[in-house]
Symmetry: C2
Subunit: 229 residues, 2 copies
C-alpha cells in the first residue's frame, strides 16, 4: 500500500477511487438541491488560522440585508466557529469530523437536513483547515474559494498546487501584516497564475476590514447569476 | 463509506487499519535502524507556513559544530525547502508526495536509502504542512514536535487535538508578530495543556532569532540521551 514505489499501488488507488466516486454521487444530490432552490453555494478552504471564520463573520454581518445566508462549518473538534458565526444572527451548523481531515458531500447532505433551507439563499461552507485534502472532495458547490494569509509565505501555491489549481477565487488575507513579514505579493500572485491562469485574486484584511468590497461585490454578482437560465 | 452516520463505516475503518498497520511495520524497521545507529530522529509537523523550514535552517547553521545533522523534507510539490536546507551544508532529501497529505514510514525508508547515514547523527524530518493527517503516521521517530505560529490563533490545540495530544514538544513560533495579532499566549498554553498535560512548550521567533536557546538545549540534551542504555 505505497504511493511511492508502486508496490500495492493499485489497491490504494482503487480504494481512493471508490471513495471519490461515492462522494461524487452525494455531491450530485447536493447540487440538484442547490439548483432546485436557486442557492449560491461556496466552499471556502485554507490552512488552519488563515482567517476563514473572521472573514465570514464580517461578511454575514455586512451583507445581512442583501443576502439570506447560512453556514456549515467543519472542524475536527469544538463548536467555537459555529458559535462565533451564529452571533451574527445567521443559522450555522458545526460538523465535527473527529479524525477526518476534510468535509465530504455525505456530511454536507446530513447537515442540509438540519438546516432551514430557503429559496435563493447563500450557503457558505467553511471547510476544515487543511491545504491538501479538502479539494479532493466535491461538495456539490458552485465555487471553490481558497484563502491564503500573507504570514504563510508566497510559495504556497507552488507547494500545494492542487488546492490553488482548483480555486475559482483566491483570497490573500491579513494584508495588514505585510509590513512585518517576508512576503512578496507579486511573486505570490505569479505563483497562483502558474498553477491556475484563470483564478480571480482579491487582497484584503478581514481583521482591519480593508479591501472587503471586491469580495462583497463578487458575492452579490455571483448570487444574482446563480442558476439563472 | 461514511464516517458520519455509520453506513459502511466498517469498510472505511478496516481500510484505514490496514494502511496504519502496514505503516507500523515500516516504522518499526526505521526505528530499528535509528537505534542501531544511535540516531536522534525528530518529526516536525505544523500547518503550512508556520515556519518549520526557517527554524530548521537556523538550527542547522547554529548547531553545525555540535550536531551531525541531515534532513528529510516533505511537500506535495517543489524542491524549495530541500534547496534552502542544503544551503546550510547539510544533506537534505526532498520527498514530493503528489496528492498525498502526509509522510509515511515507507517513504522515509526509501529516503533513508539515499541519505548518507552516520552513527550518532541527528535526523530532522520536516513533514508536509498539515495539522491533521501526518500525526496518524508513525515514522519510527523518537520525538514528535508540533509547531504553531501565533498568526494561526490560540484555539488551534482544541480544534486539532490529535496533533497536539501526540506532541512531545510544542513550539509557538512568530512571537515577534504578537503585537500585531489577536493571540492570547496564556490561553494558547492552557489549550495545549487541556489536550496534552505532558507537553513541553517553547515560545520563539525563528525569523528574529528570539528564544532559540531553549530549543537548542532541548536538542542537545535529547541527542546526548538518545538510546543510551
Amino acid at each position: 500500500m505505497c504511493g511511492v514505489c508502486g508496490c500495492g499501488e493499485t489497491t490504494t488507488i482503487s480504494v481512493e477511487q471508490d471513495i471519490l466516486s461515492e462522494n461524487k454521487q452525494y455531491a450530485k444530490k447536493n447540487s440538484q438541491l442547490f439548483i432546485e432552490k436557486n442557492m449560491l453555494v461556496i466552499n471556502i478552504m485554507s490552512s488552519p488560522g488563515s482567517g476563514k471564520t473572521t472573514l465570514l463573520t464580517k461578511t454575514l454581518s455586512d451583507l445581512k440585508n442583501k443576502l439570506k445566508s447560512a453556514v456549515i462549518v467543519g472542524d475536527q473538534q469544538t463548536e467555537c466557529d459555529a458559535n462565533q458565526l451564529k452571533s451574527t444572527g445567521v443559522d450555522a451548523i458545526q460538523i465535527n469530523t473527529g479524525k477526518v481531515c476534510h468535509l465530504d458531500a455525505h456530511m454536507i447532505g446530513h447537515a442540509l437536513e438540519k438546516l432551514p433551507i430557503n429559496n435563493d439563499m447563500t450557503l457558505f461552507i467553511e471547510n476544515i483547515g487543511n491545504l491538501v485534502c479538502p479539494v479532493l472532495f466535491d461538495l456539490g458547490e458552485q465555487y471553490k474559494v481558497v484563502m491564503l494569509s500573507v504570514t504563510e509565505g508566497d510559495n504556497k501555491p507552488l507547494k500545494y498546487p492542487d488546492m490553488f489549481h482548483n480555486a475559482d477565487l483566491v483570497i490573500i488575507n491579513k494584508i495588514d501584516l505585510l509590513p512585518y513579514v517576508n512576503f512578496d505579493m507579486d511573486e505570490c500572485i505569479n505563483n497562483i497564475y502558474k498553477v491556475n491562469a484563470q483564478a480571480k485574486v482579491f487582497k484584503l484584511s478581514a481583521t482591519t476590514e480593508t479591501g472587503l468590497q471586491n469580495w462583497y461585490d463578487w458575492l452579490l454578482i455571483s448570487k444574482s447569476q446563480a442558476y439563472v437560465n
